[in-house]
């Protein structure tokens, strides 16, 4: 069965989803889904270990040889993403038991878990596939399920946010499809490796350039690259807490991964950064996103919204690393994908606890909440510090690598900028901490019920993530080794 792990990775949640429909009982479904998520995580870890120990794993679906059939490729990059996605899914599941039950009607709960598994399967499928069109299919599975998951928020704004996301997401996917179509017109193939080979002599073609543009913009929409991020804040703000946790930790990262895959494995480094000014473009987009969204985040009144804008800003860091066009920069980006997944899902987990007990994520409702929910807020602080990039937290490691990469590249102003924008993060995270710790509970709007500490089933996942933030801040050798290898693999693949 070990040889089938790549496909089981995706198929397991995929099959589990319809089984959930048949099971129907919410608790039963939850239990089943949790087991599936944990198993999926276990598989991804095994895959990662296998990949780190040797060559990339290829799995031909239907046993058809690669350019004709669809092939799964697990290398260090995709294995890392798989671990992130399935790990966060697994951690969020226990959390969902109470959180989802409080935000979603009981008779829809089993459908919710079904959707969750589908979304997981879709994201995993994107991360593992070696076929450009198969990527589109799984992109759509994950997108459709995330639209639905987001729309389950109890505020009516969730519906509108989901609809906007649906429109933007579909446009993004369709633009991607156009790009792939143009590449297909040019080369007649869909397999990424084959595309790279056959595209190599055609890099000067305008079609290549147009396809490149469409794919970058299309995936840029999905990953909320700066001017294309408009769907994200609303979507993350109004969705149910668990969904925010899961999507914030994984969705944009998987899309970014897809973009990296295409950029490095299909077009190749030479095309991206020598023929095309991608460095400059990404740098501009990244910096603009970083600065503007950080500033906007400072003025939000809703914690989830603060975090959502911060997510867009953080994507700027990831793109900045890519913009350096060096292995070090890429490694920094990948590290930040990993670390940001940890810290942002941790933050959303903590907010989920707050929402469960106070019914709101408005700042005004959280005055002095730290006294009633000390553990939750402590986790929030840990993850918040990680977001800022305070040493001994995971976020610091990625900042460290980013700054090193910037300096190594000689882009001093960017190094300064990375550091300066961390300070903006200080401000918006600190606003929350200040309200929660240093304002009296009497500042809350009248009629707010008293809160108590979140239940263990939610605290434990939150603290697992918070502890992971510290652990990977203290001992980052494992992620550093994996990302170093992954970055080398990506850079090498393009020649």
């Amino acid at each position: 069965m070990l040889a089938h792990l790549p496909v089981l990775q995706v198929i397991l949640p995929l099959i589990a989803a319809p089984v959930c429909i048949l099971l129907r009982r919410a608790t039963l479904v939850w239990l089943f889904a949790t087991v599936v998520c944990v198993l999926t995580f276990a598989i991804s870890v095994v895959l990662l270990v296998q990949v780190m120990g040797g060559e990339p794993i290829r799995y031909e679906l239907g046993n058809w040889v690669a350019p004709w059939g669809i092939v799964y490729v697990v290398d260090s990059v995709s294995a890392l993403i798989l671990v992130i996605v399935s790990g966060i899914a697994a951690v969020a599941m226990p959390f969902a038991l109470r959180s989802a039950a409080s935000e979603i009607e009981p008779d829809r709960l089993y459908l919710f878990y079904t959707m969750y598994l589908l979304c997981l399967a879709g994201l995993l499928g994107i991360a593992i596939t070696g076929d450009a069109f198969n990527l589109f299919v799984f992109l759509e599975i994950s997108s459709l399920s995330s639209y639905t998951l987001i729309s389950l928020g109890r505020n009516r704004k969730a519906l509108h946010a989901a609809f906007q996301y649906l429109v933007m997401g579909t446009i993004g996917a369709t633009l991607y499809l156009i790009g792939i179509g143009l590449l297909y017109a040019l080369t007649g193939t869909l397999n990424m490796a084959d595309l790279a080979v056959r595209l190599a002599p055609l890099l000067d073609s305008r079609i290549t350039l147009a396809a490149f543009g469409f794919i970058v913009v299309g995936l840029g929409l999905k990953l909320a690259m700066f001017p294309l991020h408009l769907w994200l804040p609303n979507a993350y703000t109004h969705s149910p807490s668990v969904v925010s946790v899961f999507l914030a930790g994984t969705a944009t990262k998987v899309s970014l991964y897809a973009l990296l895959r295409i950029l490095y494995d299909v077009f190749g480094v030479r095309f991206d950064f020598e023929q095309q000014p991608m460095s400059a473009l990404f740098a501009i987009v990244a910096v603009a996103g970083l600065v503007i969204c950080s500033l906007v985040a400072m003025y939000q009144q809703n914690v989830k919204r603060i975090l959502a804008f911060s997510s867009v800003a953080q994507i700027g860091y990831m793109l900045l690393g890519v913009a350096f066009a060096t292995a070090a920069g890429l490694q920094a980006s990948l590290l930040h994908i990993f670390n940001h997944a940890l810290l942002k899902s941790g933050l959303f987990l903590a907010v989920g606890c707050l929402v469960l007990r106070t019914g709101s994520s408005q700042l005004a409702n959280l005055s002095g909440i730290a006294r009633e929910m000390p553990w939750t807020m402590a986790a929030f602080v840990v993850c918040g510090l990680s977001l800022i990039g305070v040493p001994a937290t995971a976020g610091f490691i990625s900042k460290w690598y980013l700054v090193s990469a910037a300096i190594e590249k000689g882009w001093w102003p960017f190094a300064a900028l990375i550091v300066a924008t961390s300070l903006l993060a200080v401000i918006y995270i600190w606003r929350v901490i200040e309200v929660a710790y240093f304002r009296p509970a009497s500042d809350r709007p009248a009629g707010s019920p008293p809160a108590t500490e979140a239940p263990l089933s939610m605290l434990v996942p939150t603290w697992i993530i918070a502890a992971a933030n510290i652990w990977f801040g203290l001992d980052a050798s494992a992620p550093a080794a994996i990302t170093a290898r992954a970055a080398k693999a990506l850079m090498g693949a393009g020649g």
């Binding site: 989803a17 319809p18 031909e60 679906l61 239907g62 046993n63 058809w64 040889v65 350019p67 004709w68 059939g69 669809i70 409080s102 935000e103 009607e105 008779d107 829809r108 459908l111 959707m115 589908l118 399967a121 499928g125 069109f133 198969n134 299919v137 799984f138 759509e140 599975i141 459709l144 399920s145 639209y147 639905t148 729309s151 109890r154 009516r156 633009l175 017109a185 080369t187 007649g188 193939t189 056959r198 073609s205 305008r206 079609i207 147009a210 396809a211 543009g213 469409f214 929402v355 469960l356 007990r357 019914g359 709101s360 994520s361 006294r371 009633e372 000390p374 019920p449 809160a451 108590t452």
Partner: protein, 221 residues
């Protein structure tokens, strides 16, 4: 003959699309999009994509129209007129950018001409599919599926995994609609929660917090 039909039908599609853009009555728009679907299905037939035409007819003209009608009953038929705003410039520019990108690509000499049998797309993988002789891993001789309809073969076997994905997509859509609208009784939480701030209802506290009141401790006690 085919070329002429192709031109007429495609022209018809363009005209229909523009008309849809201008219409405000949603019912009419739905009807026109039905025509649009029929036209595109016609083109698919012309371009030898019978399976696609089959699907487009069934889905585009059939199911989608019925769905739109069902929706219109619930949301009303008339779209409100829009006065011109400066913001309307931005989408227009975006649209122009997308169009320009495609025109830019299309003018490349590498862009395969209509029906060109030697285009890369028709030379790379298609021959093996059409000859029904695609190699399998570890097999010396290519495996034959032996079904005449190559589209079915490709769909279900060579790229069977895509189709599994497709089934899952439609499954997802079904579940999604169930979640969104499949209520046994009418729910009112949307209406209830129209206030300025909403969210989940907090659970009532189960027990008094041990650390609830650290601030009131008396010093020196």
């Amino acid at each position: 003959m085919e070329g002429i039909l192709n031109i007429i039908l495609l022209g018809g599609m363009a005209v229909t699309a523009i008309a849809i853009a201008k219409m405000r009555n949603l019912f009419v728009v739905t009807m026109l999009s039905g025509i649009y679907s029929l036209l595109s299905a016609g083109i698919f037939v012309l371009l030898d994509a019978v399976d696609v035409a089959f699907t487009e007819a069934a889905v585009g003209a059939g199911i989608t129209t019925v769905l739109f009608l069902s929706t219109l009953i619930l949301v009303g038929r008339e779209a409100k007129p829009r006065q011109f705003r400066m913001q309307a410039i931005l989408p227009f520019l975006l649209v122009l950018a997308v169009g320009a990108g495609l025109i830019f690509a299309s003018l490349d000499p590498n862009m395969p001409r209509f029906g060109d049998p030697n285009s890369p797309a028709n030379q790379r993988l298609a021959p093996e599919f059409l000859a029904d002789s695609v190699p399998q891993v570890g097999n010396e001789a290519p495996t034959r599926v032996g079904i005449p309809n190559i589209v079915t073969t490709t769909l279900a076997s060579y790229r069977g995994y895509d189709t599994l994905g497709e089934v899952v997509v439609i499954f997802t859509a079904g579940i999604a609609v169930l979640i969104l609208l499949g209520a046994a009784r009418r729910r009112r939480e949307d209406e209830e929660l129209e206030g300025p701030e909403t969210g989940a209802k907090p659970e009532p506290p189960k027990e008094d917090s041990r650390m609830a009141d650290a601030s009131k401790e008396a010093p020196g006690s």
